[in-house]
Each structure stands twice: as C-alpha cells, then as structure tokens.
Assembly symmetry: C2
C-alpha cells in the first residue's frame, strides 16, 4: 500500500503519538494553508516515550501504513520518540517521502551554537536512541552534545501544570546538569516541551537559545514539498482556497476534540476514530 | 475460549495495565504461596487511566481473553481503571470468576469510616466511572463520598519522585479539597498510590485512615478461592510446595524485568512477551 503518489492535490500526512504533533500541524497550516492534510494522533496508545524501540517501531509502522492508505503525498512524523527510535528503519520500506523532527532540530542547533555545546532534552526513548547527538556529530564532529531525559514534562504539560511551583522544582532538578556544563543552545526534543518554554527559559537564562524541533520541521517540510514539485496547484492562486483538514485518532474523538480545540484555537470537529491495531 | 475450569491445579490469573498490579501479586503470594500464577502486564499500552471507557473495555477484554487461553481458574483484575470502567461489562461474558479491586476497597471503606465521609482518589477514568461511590451507596446510601482524580500521581511514582518537595506540592494541591470536607477514610484507588502513602498520610494527617484497594482485593480473592473449592491441593501439604509464577507483558521483557525486580524484591526473569492486539 505504501506507494508514492505524484498527485499534487493529495494530502500531506502528519502523525504523532498523540496531541503533541498539533504544534507541528499549526505551523504547517500557516506555511501551507492551501494543502489538504490528514492528521493521525495515536491517543489510544500514547505516550510512546517510555516504551521499547521494538514496540515504538511497530506502532510507527502502523501509523504510516494508515497514512499511506489515505494516499498522502508526503509524511511528517511529528513525534520525536518515533522519529528518533523508529524512523530510520521505517523510511527504508517507504516509497513516500517521510520527514522526522530530529534532523531539522539538529541542523538548527548546529547553526545556532557559538560555544559548541548543545543540550538535548526529550523522552527516555528519544534520549536513549542518541539520534540527535549522532546526527549533530555527522554534521560537526567536534561539537559537544549533552542529552537528558525529562520524563515528567509530558504529564505535567498534559495536566496543565505549566506555571506552577512544582513544575519549576522538577525542571530545576532536571536542567541543573545542563547549566553546569554551560550549553548555549537547548533543543526541545519533544513536541510537548514548547509549552514549558517559559519555565525552561527562566531556568536556563537568556544566554541559552531554545530551539523547537517541531517548528524547524515545519519549515523543512515546506522546503522539501516545494522543491520536489509536490506543492498543491492552489498555491499559485490568489487568494488560494483553503485545503481540507481531516483528523483521525485511535481512541474516541470526544476527548481529542477538546484538547485539539484548545491547541488549535478553534473548534476541531472533523475527527474519525480508527482501529490502528488493524494496520 | 473463556470457559471455566474446575481444575484446582490451574493457575490464578492476575492482570494490570502495567506494573502497578505487582503490589496485588505480592500480597497474593503471601496468602497463597502454593498457587500457580500467571501475571499479565499491559506495559505496551499503559497507562489506561486517561483513556476512554470504550478503549479501556477493548483492552480489558483482550487481557482477559489472553488469561482465559492460559486456562486460569480465577482472574484478578488488579487495575482500578479497568475494574471501575470495564469490568461490569466484561464479567457478563465470562464463565471464569473475575474479581476487581473496587468492591473490596469500597467495602473496607464502609467498614472503616466513623464520620460517614469517605474520599476516593484515582485516575481520571476511575473517578469518571463513579464506580466506588456507586458501590458504597449500594451498601450504605447515607454515606458521603468525595471523588478526586490525581492524574500526576502515576507518572510521579513511575519516575521515583516519591520523597520530593514537588510531589508534596502537587499532592497538597490535589488533596486540599479532601481536607476541606473532613473525610476520615481515604481509598487509594490506584495500585500506584500506595507508594505515595507516606506523602498522602503526612498531608491528610493521622485522623484519616488510608485504604489500599489492592491489599483488600488480595484478601477477598483468598476468601473466594477458598470458599469456591478452588484452592490448590498443595495447600493441605506441610510444608506446601511453592507454586509456579509466570509473567507475560505486551512490550519487551527487559524493562519490565528491572521494575518488577524492584517491586518484588528479587530478580524477576520468567517473562514472556505477548502480542496482546491479537486477542
């Protein structure tokens, strides 16, 4: 099923382990409002971050297989855990171009750092994969990369524990080693983390640049879709008609609807449930 | 497949959304050391607590279907979320006796309270189900029940954030309303929560009794297995030979092994992976 389509009107597929990828979707909608988009959120099996490479790979294959069935022309893996842990293997078997969030985030860090010390924070699986450090070293072997798992950040964000003393205490615990080694660039290697940008920024101080991998990935996707001639024909119309946006989730739509509406800043209704274990 | 067995040598099946049910297993091993036991931990899809009733029911059916295939004589659903949300429906279709953690925990609370005010804490799904309050009211309609979801407790426990200032702050936030309404009995309605017993006890004060549903369920299981004539023949031997204990999980065994060894206080090795989506 996973065959390429040169149909420029075909949708772009975006998937994530849950709702975090909506930050990438939002960025894509700003850059490519005329594209049709299919978003899949694996909310029925979220979070991926603490699971094994083996099962993350199985889940990621199923997510992509579902998007391939939707005849997408380009796939964005908006999940850092899936990107770092499973994407290399999954890309091999795919004829549709798939972009992950690691390389764009890593590239931006390499461009940004001045003192050559980069910090990476993410889920346990993302950090264990060493994907950010490997890619950074393939670009600039002399850079120093410090990687750190912050497993409580995802549940804190999901519970809305953003501007709370407890969150500051936990973030201070986690980030102290990053301060000790004097990084000047910190990659937020999980789509949930940008929601803690203020807390993390306060702790790290103004001298440290925070990079959002999702934001970088949206920009890189825009470039690749444009250069590969896959841009929707509407892109040349002024004003360009708006594309169609469909959401698919692996649990009931109601809960996703309320979180997604908050994320997207408007009511999200076009949501269909899919039994992802069948893919 | 889900047919009863009167084979007294058949194993007892225990399942949980992950590792939390090991606290119940430990209790069962103390009471029934001569029984054969099959433990299933759905670590590949944990946690259940934030998911919908629909998907929790689907997962629970699969967990039970797997245990039925193992020809167990009795099933303990050690997960509060599954017990409160899915068990009533699942029990209907089962010829094997299945016990959940709600009724034993609720019964103990009814027996314990003196001022008639009981607090229940658990996951979002457990609290939304209203299962504890319903069952308590079926026993004693005049009792007052206050239910509260504490979604950050599970990740805090799983990250070993037990004796930390941040955990105290979050617990104080959560439990303030329970203090305000002057409960005298608090049911720890999630198998992870007993690990926070000290923090919760400090905040609630000595006048409040904390009840562990898992512990109560182990005792109730012991009674039921005994009275239904399903006790292993070894029970009458002195000394009774030790039963066999097999672990099954839905992600790779390695990670479960290290957590389970910590929980059980000895090395846990007999772990087999199962693809639970096939059940």
């Amino acid at each position: 099923m996973n065959t390429p389509t040169n149909n420029r009107t075909a949708p772009i597929g975006i998937f994530d382990s849950g709702v975090g990828g909506l930050t990438v979707l939002k960025e894509i909608l700003e850059l490519l409002p005329f594209e049709n988009i299919v978003y899949f959120g694996d909310v029925g099996r979220t979070p991926y971050g603490g699971r094994s490479k083996e099962i993350i790979t199985q889940f990621t294959k199923q997510d992509i297989s579902f998007l391939a069935e939707q005849k997408v022309k380009f796939i964005i893996c908006a999940c850092n855990t899936a990107s770092s842990t499973a994407l290399e293997e999954v890309q091999k078997g795919s004829e549709i171009e798939i972009i992950g969030v690691i390389e764009p985030g890593a590239k931006a860090a390499v461009e940004k750092t001045k003192n050559g010390k980069i910090g990476i924070i993410g889920t346990v699986a993302t950090i264990n994969s060493n994907a950010y450090a490997s890619y950074i070293h393939s670009l600039e072997p002399q850079l120093k990369v410090f990687s750190l798992a912050c497993p409580l950040f995802v549940p804190l964000v999901e519970e809305g524990y953003i501007d709370k003393e407890a969150t500051y205490l936990i973030a201070r615990d986690y980030l102290q080693t990053m301060k000790d080694v004097s990084i000047d660039t910190l990659v937020l290697g999980c789509t949930h983390y940008p929601l803690l940008k203020e807390v993390i920024g306060d702790i790290m101080g103004d001298a440290v640049t925070l990079l959002d991998s999702g934001e970088e990935t949206a920009k890189e996707s825009f470039r690749r879709i444009t250069t590969s001639g896959l841009l929707h024909p509407y892109s040349s119309q002024v004003p360009a008609p708006e594309g169609e946006l469909k959401y698919f989730v692996s649990d009931v739509p109601e809960k996703f609807s309320s979180v997604a509406s908050r994320f997207m800043g408007k009511e999200v209704t076009n949501i269909t449930r899919v039994d992802i274990s069948k893919y």
